[in-house]
């Protein structure tokens, strides 16, 4: 595996009486698409700005390409940033914006113009060079900001919530384009986002942050399937929690008694932290619960319950189901197939589940 391009060692940042970063350590690999994910105020943007050099860590060390960045200003770091507001210079045209960072480069004027054209072509804005900055749409501003950062061929591209100002459709399109662009140029992208879906779709690895600390750092699949805490599990996707009691615990497996589901044996590694002070619970994702329609044969374990709410999405239907013997409801998602009806509120139904899909939070 390639050497880490960015090494964060116990980075803390204190603003007056607020501790924005509480000892963050992470290695970010060369060429990966890395996301910092968390709710607002979790310190993800502060961490990005610390890497960029706009904030100096209160303690700890930031190394980029092996070099300690203490005291190195943003203009001398091999990083470039795409700002949340895009920060397109309103007094310059598109080519002036994209070529801004080349002013100090030793390239000839013709080479600079070519570099600008190439960068614009890369982001799908070929021929827009003479366009005035204020005549651009949101998506185009985003692309200009990308081209402006990429034209300098940075080792690391930092993106601060770059898609949050775009509408849903454009955002989804740009997610795909950013991913494609990252593969094409091969440089490390670090994305800050509060949108867990966006992080899952785009990233090679994700660091989930809460309150100035990294709660979990993993690839999207691990993060979704093996959250290390109830908090992470609740932040990434949807998870159902059922009260549970541990009856026996050994390295081979953990025996639990789950409200509504009954006894189950979990493998030794499928457990995670509960929220502080919370009683133990068992988590299961909505797609891991399967409704048995009509007299479909039982597969695995089965529970029974009543449909309380039906949300029809077209391709999927989400049910809120009150399982007999369990408090509250669980969410169950079912793909809509030819032979599957959509259940109505108040109907009784059977739900099949599998021990391997369970995670114990304690």
């Amino acid at each position: 595996m390639a050497d880490p391009i960015i090494q964060l060692e116990n980075v803390t940042k204190r603003f007056d009486d607020f501790e924005a970063l509480k000892g963050v350590s992470a290695d970010i690999r060369e060429g990966e698409f890395f996301s910092l994910l968390g709710p607002s105020g979790c310190g993800k943007t502060t961490l990005l700005r610390t890497i960029a050099g706009f904030e100096a860590p209160t303690s700890g060390q930031v190394r980029i390409a092996g070099q300690d960045m203490a005291g190195v200003p943003p203009n001398r770091r091999p990083t470039n940033m795409v700002f949340q507001s895009y920060a397109i210079f309103p007094h310059l045209d598109v080519a002036g914006n994209v070529g801004f960072g080349l002013r100090r480069s030793p390239m000839s004027a013709a080479e600079k113009a070519r570099a600008v054209d190439e960068a614009l072509e890369m982001v799908g804005l070929a021929g827009y060079g003479r366009r005035a900055a204020h005549a651009l749409s949101g998506g185009q501003r985003q692309r200009v900001a990308l081209a402006r950062a990429l034209v300098l061929k940075p080792r690391v591209l930092l993106l601060d919530e770059p898609l949050s100002a775009l509408d849903k459709k454009l955002r989804e399109q740009m997610q795909g384009e950013l991913r494609r662009l990252q593969r094409q140029v091969g440089i490390t992208f670090i994305l800050v986002t509060h949108d867990q879906e966006e992080a899952l779709i785009m990233s090679d690895r994700i660091a989930v942050m809460f309150e100035g600390q990294i709660a979990q750092m993993a690839n999207p699949e691990m993060l979704y399937r093996r959250p290390v805490s109830r908090r992470v599990a609740e932040f990434i996707g949807v998870m159902n929690f059922l009260p549970a009691r541990v009856t026996a615990s050994s390295p081979a497996g953990i025996e639990v008694e789950i409200a509504g589901l009954g006894r189950a044996t979990l493998s030794g590694d499928s457990h995670a932290e509960a929220a502080p002070g919370e009683p133990p619970s068992v988590g299961i994702r909505p797609e891991m619960l399967t409704i048995l329609f009509g007299n479909e044969p039982e597969t695995g374990r089965v529970a029974e319950g009543e449909v309380r709410e039906v949300v029809y999405y077209g391709d999927m239907t989400y049910y809120e189901i009150a399982i007999d013997g369990a408090p509250g409801t669980v969410t169950v998602s079912m793909r809509n197939l030819v032979n599957r009806p959509v259940l109505r509120r108040g109907e009784r139904t059977r739900i099949s589940w599998d021990e391997r899909a369970l995670i114990l939070f304690r």
Partner: protein
């Protein structure tokens, strides 16, 4: 009914404001030495005579020099203060800014007398420089007000982007900050110039042997036969002031449009 009263009130108010000023050009072109109706014939001779008074030329030059120095100095000071107040938090920021803005409402006669006492006590002589100092004092709050709005509407990430793209703080100021607040700077210069140009009280107290234009005009009012010339001069000054103010407002609005333009109206298409 109510609408009619309001309309009448508005018309009266505007008449009260502008009718006296409208008299200026009327009598400036009136062919009679006495300022009274009925009017005589139309003449341009008062404007011609304006050109024949050397003392008036000197006074005009004094005023222009003083206004230029005062507006440039006030704009530089205003820029520093606006930058500090919009960017940084520091102890006692509000009271400090409040005291800086105070000359806006301080009676000028107090400022004038105090300055006169201080300058004479300090053993300095009254000259252009004493008037310039007084004018900087009253113009700077206007500059700060104008430039604060220019700096406040400037997106800070624009400057960060420039630094991120390899520029130093100084070259960032030159390449990004300055062009974007330039409309505010021009607006501040023009308004400062206008205020200083027609300021009378401070100039009256602090001018030595070289009067400014308003002080000169005040002196000439003792000679009734010169009043039509003053009317002509007044006409020119009013037109000039309006022109300067309109230009200043144009630049101020353009500045806000430009600096704030990136977060409005951009997301369609």
């Amino acid at each position: 009914m109510k609408g009619r009263w309001l309309r009448a009130y508005t018309v009266l108010y505007l008449l009260f404001l502008y009718a006296p000023i409208a008299l200026l050009p009327i009598f400036a072109f009136n062919d009679a030495t006495i300022i009274a109706f009925p009017l005589g014939g139309f003449t341009g001779r008062w404007f011609v005579e304006l050109g024949k008074v050397p003392a008036l030329h000197d006074a005009a030059l004094n005023s222009v020099f003083i206004a230029a120095m005062a507006s440039v100095s006030a704009t530089v000071l205003g820029m520093l203060a606006a930058c500090a107040s919009t960017r940084y938090e520091f102890p006692a920021k509000r009271p400090i800014m409040g005291f800086i803005m105070l000359p806006l409402v301080l009676p000028e006669i107090i400022v004038g007398v105090s300055l006169l006492v201080v300058i004479l006590r300090a053993g300095l002589h009254l000259s252009h420089w004493s008037i310039i100092a007084g004018h900087i004092l009253i113009v700077t709050p206007f500059s700060i007000a104008i430039l604060s709005s220019a700096f406040a509407s400037l997106d800070r990430s624009l400057e960060e982007a420039a630094i991120d793209l390899g520029e130093t703080p100084w070259s960032t100021f030159r390449l990004v900050t300055l062009p974007l607040v330039m409309p505010g700077i021009i607006s501040s210069l023009l308004i400062g110039f206008t205020i200083s140009l027609d300021e009378f009280i401070i100039a009256f107290f602090l001018s030595g042997s070289e009067p400014t234009l308003p002080v000169y005009i005040f002196g000439q009012l003792r000679f009734p036969q010169k009043i039509p010339i003053i009317m002509a001069l007044g006409t020119i000054l009013v037109v000039l002031s309006i022109l300067l103010l309109v230009t200043a407002e144009y630049f101020r609005r353009r500045g806000i449009r430009r600096a704030g333009g990136q977060d409005s109206g951009g997301f369609l298409g």
